[in-house]
């Protein structure tokens, strides 16, 4: 059998799906994660290893510090403290670093160097991967095991002042908080005064265990005027004063308490030479980390270079310092200088706890963990540790004990470093190899040769190109719906212009003058044609088009003229139904008005009307049996919505009994399956018996209306008008635009695609994961069943593109007698869907270190991947239909 271009396109799309899957696998590395959930907080700490002897120390080690103050200065670069700026503007801190009881480090932050992931890294000790965001469905609350949560569980009282990201991450953890917003970048005094103003009161009170301060001013100065601005110096002295105030107050309080307190000064990320952050230049990843406590030994003079550590090490250190379990997903290792002053037994215990936690994480994430050098070192040091404990319990107080202890410590530190490194490399790198393979597989597709194109189709592709290029801007991705609404509107206006010209200029239908100027016009002003409509035909085509259709008279003529405006009005109404995107998402829309409980009656009327319109429009092409099934099914949809409590029966306006509507939903499912079955049966019949052309058309329409019924069941009641108007626009376009004007297959395909995309956004979707309507997956089910829930959610999300594609198949196979129409359409559809994905993948790869890569571009990448999967399904359907038509003919 000849391999049609449609089949070829379908195969290419299938390959592209594979490519995107590989790319995604590389782009979103699975994070290192402890499989056990966060519930077993009460789990006992790992006991001290003891070779043979029984240890008498099994409970968790007690805290080292009574109070902990964390001063986090946003965008504090290491040279602001340790460099010449620090000496000039932060004298007190420099004094502490050089001579005081403190330990200073340079902590390396992993990209993306943006505040929220960095806070997560500091508090969980893990490296947040994008997949977390998907798992939590953008819920801002930090669900992983973290120091703050552990401290809350241990009954510590925590206070927070500063960037409100913390309040979003830890909404119920602080006994007192005041969030400042980082929205006004140009404000760098007020934002910090709002933090400092609480300081005196809080330091005097002292009824807290942990105090966290997050200063944003420095970051704002960096964004506005860069790291060499004189404002930086002022801000650094201000921070120095804050630090001095806290430190003196802590020292004064310390006299009353048994345990010393700890003051931490750190930055979440650095600052590039231009003042921004987000990428991975040295200035952005290197932050100072200074731990100050009277428990530490005063260092003798002499300047030492601060040790380089990872930012994730802070979580483990804080947990040990506060006597808490180390967060389970932490990949950091204890900052050993902090516990150096403790007795040998305690030092060993802390190191042991840390290594046990890391090796557990390694066991759960690496299949061949036993061969890992870190794990081997861990086993060895644990054995040595056991020996040491036995000697210790035997009251052996000789030199041997000290020597052995030092050796064990060294061994432990080595093990910790190796474990930490091998865990971090699991996540830190993008899987570049997979990314390249995936990108190459995707790119190979658009590069294939294609059959000849008319100029008109090229114009349509220019519109698509504009959209594709807009995907490089984060705002255009956030507001992609605007692009589609804009394109669809322009398409309608262009159609209207074409119709007007065809109808009003008919009278003087003399043969068009082929002016020589046409050549010049073609080269010089392609942009003009672009505006004049994507569908402005060439004069010769106009004649060709007009000939077959006799001039329609009277009413129909006016209907044809009015139809683009009807569609435009429909689109405008739908647009105000659901506000989506980011910038204007907060504006009131019709959807919210309808779903509020005061307007239940209006919602019911609208839903009933929409279902009626759906029935009237969808029943036309069906066989009598399916008509009945469709009517009953749509009634069932309404009953389901009543049972769920969304809408009302007019005769029972105040019924309160709300159920899950399982019976009603399953009732509708039966009819959906019935209609789909009838449709498939008709299709098979037309193929096997080589029956008339009509059976096939009816079969296709039945499949279409079965999907419409399913969509009606799954979409939320205020979205039923979207479904109804989608059917309405399809009907109007079919009978008044495509048939009389005789557009080519490619044009019709592209129009279907554009409308499908616009309807994707009309129903309230956006490029943000949070707008996916998961409730669709639960319709008709008692509990969560994974496979159907995923399928139903995917269908409900992509219902717009799917229904339009399905309509395209029906339209082409009923209108176009030529068998190549379908394969040509399939080819066009595959091309127009896969080009944006291909270009987008290249864009995302080059924007890997963009500030918004996690919040904007990555969700869009997931959407594109899913859309491609849907496209592949559609193309498979096309190809199947194409085969049927080939066999029939």
């Amino acid at each position: 059998m000849r391999l049609g271009s449609g089949t070829f396109a379908a195969c290419c799309v299938a390959i592209e799906v594979l490519g995107v899957a590989i790319f995604l696998r590389g782009f979103f590395p699975a994070p290192v994660r402890s499989s056990s959930s966060t519930e077993h907080r009460a789990e006992l700490p790992a006991p001290e290893p003891s070779a043979g002897a029984t240890s008498n120390w099994t409970e968790r080690p007690s805290p080292l510090f009574s109070k902990v103050v964390i001063v986090l200065v946003d965008a504090l670069r290491d040279d602001f403290v340790f460099g010449s700026k620090g000496v000039r503007f932060m004298p007190y801190t420099t004094h502490l670093v050089e001579e005081g009881a403190s330990h200073s480090f340079v902590a390396e932050a992993k990209p993306p160097t943006v505040t929220m992931p960095r806070i997560k890294a500091l508090m969980t000790g893990s490296l947040p991967g994008f997949i977390d965001i998907v798992r939590n469905l953008n819920s801002p609350v930090l669900l992983e095991d973290n120091v703050i949560g552990q401290a809350k569980a241990a009954g510590k009282r925590m206070i927070f002042y500063g960037d409100e990201t913390w309040v979003k991450l830890f909404p119920k953890h602080f006994v007192e908080y005041d969030g400042t917003t980082s929205f006004f970048v140009s404000d760098y005094t007020e934002v910090d005064n709002n933090v400092t103003r609480h300081l005196d009161k809080v330091l005097k009170r002292g009824d807290w265990d942990v105090l966290i301060l997050h200063y944003l001013g420095l970051d704002h100065i960096g964004h506005v005027s860069g790291p060499s601005s004189p404002l930086i110096g002022h801000k650094l002295s201000e921070m120095d004063n804050v630090l001095m105030k806290i430190h003196t107050s802590l020292l004064a309080k310390e006299r009353d308490s048994v345990l010393p307190s700890l003051l931490v000064l750190c930055g979440d990320h650095g600052m590039s030479e231009t003042g921004g952050h987000g990428a991975s230049s040295a200035g952005e990843v290197n932050t100072p980390l200074i731990l100050i406590s009277s428990a530490f030994q005063r260092k003798p003079g002499g300047i030492r270079r601060p040790q380089r550590v990872q930012q994730t090490d802070l979580a483990a250190t804080l947990a040990i310092g506060l006597g808490l379990p180390i967060p389970k997903d932490s990949v950091g290792s204890l900052l050993f200088p902090v516990v150096e002053g403790k007795p040998m037994r305690e030092q060993l215990r802390f190191l042991h706890l840390n290594t046990v936690q890391l090796s557990k994480l390694l066991q759960e994430n690496v299949p061949s963990y036993e061969k890992d050098p870190g794990f081997e070192q861990f086993k060895m040091s644990e054995r040595l540790h056991g020996n040491w404990v036995r000697l210790y319990l035997e009251e052996n107080r000789s030199e041997v004990l000290v020597n052995l202890g030092t050796k064990v410590i060294r061994q432990y530190l080595d093990a910790l470093r190796t474990l930490s490194v091998s865990l971090s490399t699991q996540v830190a790198q993008y899987d570049v190899y997979s990314m390249v393979v995936g990108a190459v597989m995707v790119l190979e597709n658009p590069a294939r040769p294609h059959s000849k194109w008319s100029e008109l189709e090229l114009l349509i592709v220019f519109g698509t190109l504009g959209h594709v290029l807009s995907l490089g801007g984060s705002s255009f991705v956030e507001e992609e719906h605007q692009t589609w609404y804009f394109l669809v509107n322009t398409l309608c206006l262009a159609l209207s212009q074409e119709i007007c010209r065809n109808y009003f200029l008919e009278d003087d239908d003399e043969p068009p003058h082929r002016f020589p100027m046409e050549q010049g016009f073609d080269c010089a002003a392609p942009a003009l044609q672009d505006w004049r409509g994507y569908c402005v035909p060439r004069p010769d085509r106009v004649c060709k088009r007009r000939l077959p259709s006799a001039v329609p008279g009277g009413l129909e003529r006016w209907m044809v003229l009015a139809s683009p405006w009807l569609i435009l009005a429909c689109c405008r109404l739908l647009r105000s139904l659901n506000q989506t995107g980011v910038q204007w998402a907060h504006l009131p829309d019709l959807g919210h008005w309808l779903t509020s409980s005061d307007h239940k009656a209006e919602l019911s009327a609208l839903a009933a009307l929409s279902l009626l319109v759906v029935f009237v429009l969808a029943q036309r092409g069906c066989s009598p049996v399916s008509k009945g099934a469709l009517a009953l099914g749509l009634l069932g949809v309404y009953c389901y919505r009543v049972a769920v409590g969304n809408v009302l029966f007019p005769w029972r306006p105040d019924s309160k009994d709300i159920s899950k509507g399982i019976i009603e939903a399953r009732f509708v499912y039966v009819f959906v399956l019935g209609i789909l079955f009838t449709g498939t049966k008709d299709l098979l019949k037309s193929q096997v018996l080589a029956a008339d052309f009509k059976t096939k058309t009816v079969g296709l329409w039945e499949i279409f209306s079965g999907l419409v019924l399913l969509a009606a069941l799954l979409s939320r009641p205020h979205n039923l008008p979207v479904l109804a108007s989608s059917l309405l626009i399809q009907t109007v376009m079919t009978s008044f635009i495509w048939k009389p004007l005789q557009h080519s297959t490619a044009e019709i395909t592209v129009m279907h695609y554009w409308f499908g995309q616009a309807f994707f956004y009309f129903q309230g979707n956006s490029n943000n994961i949070a707008t996916v309507d998961i409730s669709a997956g639960f319709v008709g089910f008692d509990a969560y069943v994974e496979t159907p829930a995923m399928l139903l959610t995917a269908f409900a999300t992509y219902v717009g593109p799917l229904l339009w594609a399905c309509h395209l198949v029906h339209f082409l196979s009923s209108e176009r007698s030529s068998s190549t129409a379908l394969s040509h359409a399939c080819f066009c559809y595959a091309l127009i869907c896969s080009v944006p994905v291909a270009v987008y993948i290249v864009l995302v790869s080059s924007l890997r270190y963009h500030l918004f890569i996690w919040s904007v571009f990555s969700p869009k990448l997931l959407y594109e991947g899913m859309h491609l999967l849907v496209t592949a399904a559609v193309c498979a359907f096309f190809t199947a239909m194409d085969r049927t038509s080939i066999t029939t003919s």
Partner: protein
């Protein structure tokens, strides 16, 4: 043979003078826009395009209409004005006014269909419709009169019958494209004052119109050898 040559040279010189007149007329329009931008700041306090945008829109629109009317009476590009009575002229003028208003309203409707807010910012949207009508409908009315069929003819392919109509086609389409492209910066999150509806669109339309005014005589001059019109 000689007569033919004479006719050809005569035609080309006629065309050259015509292009010159077109160029000067367009320069006048451009100057009217520039003046409307700078002159009012001498009379009005705190006048600037962005902050007192609506005032600027009104002034710009009025001055462009005035220049177009002056050009209509001075240059008289369409020779077709037959002997007509004054009452006929008044009726024609009223018809033009009605057409202008209708075009303003229909542009307003189209903007709302494109997503402009329905209830808020009505004045802004309407003034944008007015300025776009000024750039597109007013020259059409001056040149072609209230004759829809002629408009459709000019704006379909190969329908132009003089360089005036050709330049009209180019400037009108350029204004539309400018307004259309002007909508693109709106969703960007730069927070600039000119991104507010409808400033970017009006500025886009103005730039498009000016570009059309400047480019169309040049383009016609460059392609004068290829251009032959039905009625010339």
């Amino acid at each position: 043979m000689l007569t033919l040559l004479q006719r050809v040279t005569q035609g080309s010189t006629m065309k050259n003078t015509d292009i010159k007149r077109l160029f000067y007329a367009h320069l006048l329009c451009v100057f009217s826009i520039i003046l409307s931008t700078f002159v009012p700041s001498f009379f009005l306090e705190s006048f600037s395009i962005l902050e007192t945008h609506l005032t600027w829109l009104c002034i710009c629109s009025v001055s462009v209409i005035a220049v177009n009317l002056v050009l209509y009476f001075v240059v008289k590009p369409n020779v077709s004005s037959k002997r007509s009575s004054s009452s006929h002229k008044v009726a024609r003028f009223l018809k033009c006014c009605i057409y202008f208003l209708m075009s303003c309203f229909s542009f307003h409707v189209i903007f709302v269909l494109y997503g402009a807010p329905l209830i808020e910012l009505v004045l802004e949207t309407f003034l944008f419709a007015v300025i776009l009508s000024t750039f597109t409908t007013v020259p059409c009315l001056c040149l072609l009169g209230p004759n829809l069929k002629a408009w459709l003819r000019v704006f379909s392919r190969n329908g132009v019958s003089s360089i005036w109509e050709n330049s009209l086609q180019i400037t009108t389409i350029a204004s539309f494209i400018g307004a259309w492209l002007g909508a693109f910066p709106i969703p960007l999150d730069w927070g600039r004052p000119w991104q507010v509806w409808p400033i970017s669109c009006t500025l886009g339309a103005t730039f498009g119109y000016v570009a059309g005014l400047v480019l169309s005589p040049l383009w016609i001059y460059r392609n004068r050898k290829q251009l032959t019109y039905k009625n010339n």
